[in-house]
Amino acid sequence: MDKIPVIEVENLTARFGDDTIFAGVSFQVFKGEILVILGGSGCGKTTLLKHLIGLYRPPTGRILINGVDVNSRSAKKLRKLRMDFGVLFQSGALFGSMTLAENVALPLQEYTDLSPAAIGSVVKMKLGLVSLAGYENHLPEEISGGMQKRAGLARAMALDPTVLFFDEPSAGLDPITSVELDNLIKAINAGMGTTMVIVTHELQSIFNIAHRVVMLDKSAKGIIAMGDPKDLKEHSPDLRVTSFFNRQPLEAKEVSA
């Protein structure tokens, strides 16, 4: 893999009030790779993701996507940046009062001057990509949870972004549906070369899709491991890392050791 950094995180700190969630987080995401951010519940994965996409402004640190600071004050740069990435939120975050087609069309209407007919054809194509052909006129409430996430993915991909972010794509899905979604993610990554940052704690997903992982820890307030998940599982010297990959709670491991 050619190592061109697409996302650069430097010395990032996240704070809510007086609570420091993590501090001094630095890593890079390279072009075309699938990077998984993992860690136990409440360790700040979602918080990190929301910083990466510029929803939260960090007290210290810097995040560049394709060389543009996500907290840039220039409206023009931000607009360009937001065309460059898409986000699939944990709940899908489809707009409930709009049909799937309207949901997917929204970014197209905002960012392009395409005619309604052209937008319609792009929407149809995107829905087809996520195997939702024919569901244009359904409302989000009329389809299942897995389909909602796929529709959310279609909306995130509407502008063919170079980076896609996912928050817990498999949360709330049954194992089969979640494997289907993982395979879809892999197919898009392979087909379009999209760089992907995925937050999850599902081991199965991690081994299935991740090229590289970044592991956060709540008490360490930062990154405790980075690298190939299979490598980490076998060779990490850190007990917290191996116990996560081997599905063993830390205390049990300590007692038996």
């Binding site: 929301k50 996409i53 510029g54 929803l55 931000l78 607009r79 937001r82 065309m83 990435f85 898409g86 986000v87 939120f89 944990q90 709940s91 975050a93 489809l94 707009f95 409930g96 929204l106 970014p107 905002e110 960012y111 909306r155």
Partner: protein, 382 residues
């Protein structure tokens, strides 16, 4: 196992040995939640009376043990330990051992963690509430500022407005509200005219019912009542809608797609309200006047003609215009606070509920405060 003496569901404690010496307590029967307090008290008093040098608890006669019974045993062990009395359990069955093993004695004595913010004293609560009120006020003012900036932008770029949404909310806030607003306007007019007619009749001043009602409805009651109804019907709905979108991360999705959530979500609602509330106010006022007319004609033997001319004489164009301006401001406030409360939502469904309540309460509060300000200002302008 011994047959139970009186009640089958009871425990029994036997003592072997002399006070101050090695003591064996035989616990038999049922050690369970329902007799926990008796058991705890008895064991405690035995321990204090006998002051044993060593304690053996024989559980051979145990028939039933649940976690509460096990708790009593562990507490007994703890008490003994505290008095430096060696204590051991004898003839413990395998099942009982498993229950005992589940309970970690250390967790029983661990001091409770101190939750982050606990406000107890009256003064503390007062201070807390004041700070919250102040920061809330700052947030509301900031949001209204944002809203006005966006409205200004929209005025300059009318094509950026989602007019489809505006029409939708005009229907929701306006058309759908017509029946209830008309009904309440009518009833208010009837009641007000009836009550004042009782007083005015005594002076033979029947005809003044018309002017009294006209002034009251046009200047105050029409705009206020309509705004309060809109706060209840639409302000709350706006808060709930935006709050739910916040919870579902839809607002976050909007931001990452490059939309300004205020312009996208709040402006259509606020614009629709500002367009529709003045119309509703006129409508409510007309129904109020109709109520007065009904009382005047049926109850006070006034003619329709004299009632209407008297009403007309009481109201000036200035009153009507100022009432319309007032209603536009009320609409801005009520819809704005509804949206602001929605955007404030953090967490889950419960937060949406309190945002809804707060939208109505704060909306009505703002209406009253602003109305007082208007009363003062209009008095001097006139």
């Amino acid at each position: 196992m011994k047959p139970a003496k009186k009640l089958p569901a009871q425990h029994a404690i036997g003592v072997k040995g002399e006070p101050g010496q090695e003591i064996t307590l035989t616990l038999s029967g049922r050690l369970a939640l329902d007799n926990l307090s008796a058991l705890q008290a008895e064991l405690q008093s035995r321990l204090e009376q006998l002051r044993p040098a060593g304690l053996t608890v024989d559980l051979a006669g145990l028939e039933y043990l649940d976690s509460a019974g096990a708790l009593a045993l562990i507490q007994l062990q703890g008490e003994s330990q505290a008095r430096a009395i060696p204590c051991r359990l004898l003839n413990l069955s395998e099942e009982a051992r498993r229950i005992l093993d589940l309970i970690d004695p250390e967790t029983l004595t661990r001091p409770p963690l101190i939750p982050e913010e606990r406000v107890t004293g009256f003064m503390d609560q007062l201070g807390e509430a004041s700070i919250r009120f102040a920061s809330d006020l700052v947030q509301v003012i900031t949001f209204l500022g944002d809203l006005l900036t966006s409205l200004w932008y929209v005025l300059l770029h009318p094509r950026s407005v989602r007019w489809g949404d505006v029409l939708f909310y005009m229907k929701r806030a306006g058309v759908d509200g017509l029946p209830i607003i008309g009904l309440i306007g009518l009833l208010l007019g009837l009641i007000l005219a009836f009550m004042s007619s009782l007083q005015l009749k005594q002076f033979g001043a029947n005809i003044y019912v018309a002017s009294l009602l006209a002034v009251a409805m046009v200047q105050e009651l029409g705009p206020i009542m309509t705004a309060i109804l809109v706060a209840g019907r639409s302000g709350s709905a706006f808060a709930a809608e935006i709050g739910t979108m916040k919870v579902n991360e839809e607002v976050d999705a909007l931001v990452t797609m490059g939309f300004d959530p205020v312009r996208f979500l709040a402006i259509p609602k606020v614009l629709a309200s500002m367009l529709v509330v003045p119309l509703l106010t006129v409508y409510a006022t007309l129904f109020g006047l109709l109520g007065g007319l009904i009382i005047g004609v049926l109850g006070l033997d006034l003619t329709v003609y004299s009632y209407v001319t008297e009403s007309q004489r009481a109201i000036e164009l200035f009153d009507i215009l100022s009432s319309l301006v007032k209603s536009v401001v009320f609409a801005l406030l009520v819809a704005g606070i509804g949206c602001q409360r929605g955007f404030q939502v953090r967490g889950g469904a419960e937060a949406v509920g309190s945002a809804t309540t707060s939208a109505v309460v704060a909306g009505i509060f703002l209406i009253i405060v602003t109305d007082s300000a208007f009363a003062l200002v209009l008095h001097y302008i006139r």
